[in-house]
Amino acid sequence: MIEIIQTGPFNTVQDLGRPGFRNIGVTTSGAMDPLALKVGNSLLGNETDAAVIEIQTYPFKLRFTKATAFVVTGADCGASIDGRPVQPWCALPVEAGQLLELGQPRVGTRAYICIAGGIDVAAVMGSRSTSLRGAFGGNEGRFLVAGDILQLGDISASLNLPATGIAVVDPAYALADVYPAPEDGALVVRAIPAGEHSLFGEDAERFWSQTWKISTQSDRTGYRLMGEPIKPTTPVEMRSHGVVSGVVQVPPSGEPIIQMSDANTAGGYPKIAGVIEADLWRLGQTRIGSRLRFVRVTHAQAAEVEKAVAGFIDDVRRTSRMVCGALQAMK
């Protein structure tokens, strides 16, 4: 078990989400940085989609009430165990009674506390993710508060981590070949033109060429962007249709919205583009107030990135099992 000692609002239990229910209006939810969740779980020998704690507001403290293993992935927030610093992306064994603390993030915005066996809240409609909007899933359908006690799942093949832990290189560096560096301080987000792209005429080019700022009206539901408005050449009244996270819609104001993990399942605003799935985690780690630029890519390019990321996660899982096995044999 773990006990939440201190937490800000909007910190929730998340897994990879609840796909398969958009057709009855249920949003997928799930981690805003699914890569951090997958890497953390793979490092611990968990199922890839085990539930973790997503931290968006700090400081955050929890106490382990039994010996287990954990890793903090995603944002680097100067984590410590009983006051001793622990490295991000480093899986460590932990004793009963030890206190894990996370401070304000130095890099990134969302941290993931992954624990051996995963957070064992009841699955609702196939997922342990918290649906804040629907008020179900996760821990009683709400965000965590001090005093909450969460059960941990059983782990089928425990890794026997060495006391010094095992670490993985931060994916931002490990995958530097497939993720473009920022341009003039702006995050480069790859996207594919969507259905109403051509309706924006010359404004469509300004969508790609300008730098957009992430407004304060941005959260797990979606990111509202600020910049020079873009408008369709003729107004359109769309019939409601299904959407996925990453869709870039343009409401009448002309300032785009990127729908994120907790987005509506349907929409009717004209859509100018869709962020490729493999780039969504980077948006999940981008702070309010920072800038981004969209770059057009093809499906083939998106598929290539997706493969590289999947390969990286497989590699983490294989290597972590191998290293722990070898260290165990040397004892």
Partner: protein, 235 residues
């Protein structure tokens, strides 16, 4: 590529294929939207239902999301060749025979007017009808659930009388209550969550539309028939 396919823009622009009454476009790398481009009617929706059943069986499909005369297909992985997928969707659309879903009939008791009917007056102004006429036209209608979406268990209902069509508000109500009976354009429905809402409220229904712990969490399903029964009229 099939010569009969009209390509709206060059591949460097956007992959949009449009032919024989349907249009395919991508949303991100793994999702494709196919929209019927003809009338907004039951005939088109019946073909969408048939297409949904076909696309659901494809091995690469993760999820299908039928909308209002359209269908979103979410794939398990990003296809390297999206055009093949788009053409396959168009072919499936051409072959889709109209099917009718055998649904239930759901009766929803409504309090028309009253504190929740925040937009009834505006609807009267727009339509030139009295509040009594607007309400009567609404409850005399026979509606079909075309699709669910937006919020958990929310059913988009088709069959609204054109006399009481009312465009969505440009500035949404910030805190519309769950249960409000609303009109959005040529559609009607019952709000399932309390929160911002751009549709126009004319009444209130108590019926709970969604229970996440149930085996069938949503009360409505595509194909169901819905009738609104006036429990009381407070004008």
């Amino acid at each position: 590529m099939n010569a009969s396919v009209a390509k709206i823009t060059s591949p460097a622009e956007a992959l949009v294929l449009d032919r024989k009454g349907a249009r395919v476009s991508p949303i991100g790398s793994r999702a494709f939207l196919i929209e019927a481009t003809g009338e907004f009617d039951l005939a088109a929706q019946r073909r969408i239902w048939a297409l949904s059943k076909a696309a659901e069986l494809w091995s690469e499909t993760l999820e299908i999301v039928p909308g209002m005369t359209n269908l979103l297909v979410v794939l398990k992985v990003t296809p390297e060749d999206p055009e093949t997928l788009a053409l396959r969707l168009l072919e499936a659309w051409e072959q889709a025979e109209s099917i009718d879903l055998v649904g239930r009939t759901i009766e929803i008791a409504v309090t028309y007017g009253g504190q929740h009917a925040t937009d009834l007056a505006a609807l009267c102004d727009r339509s030139g009808l009295s509040d009594r006429e607007v309400v009567r036209i609404h409850y005399e209608g026979i509606y079909r659930v075309f699709a669910l979406g937006s919020a958990p268990g929310f059913g988009y209902l088709h069959g609204l009388d054109p006399r009481i069509y009312m465009p969505r508000k440009s500035v949404p109500s910030l805190n519309m209550a769950r249960g409000c009976v609303t009109i959005g354009g040529m559609q009607t429905g019952v709000a399932v969550l309390t929160g911002p809402n751009g549709w126009n409220s004319i009444g209130f229904a108590e019926l709970q539309m969604f229970d996440p712990m149930s085996d069938t969490p949503a009360v409505m399903a595509p194909g169901d028939t819905v009738r609104f029964v006036p429990a009381s009229i407070e004008l």
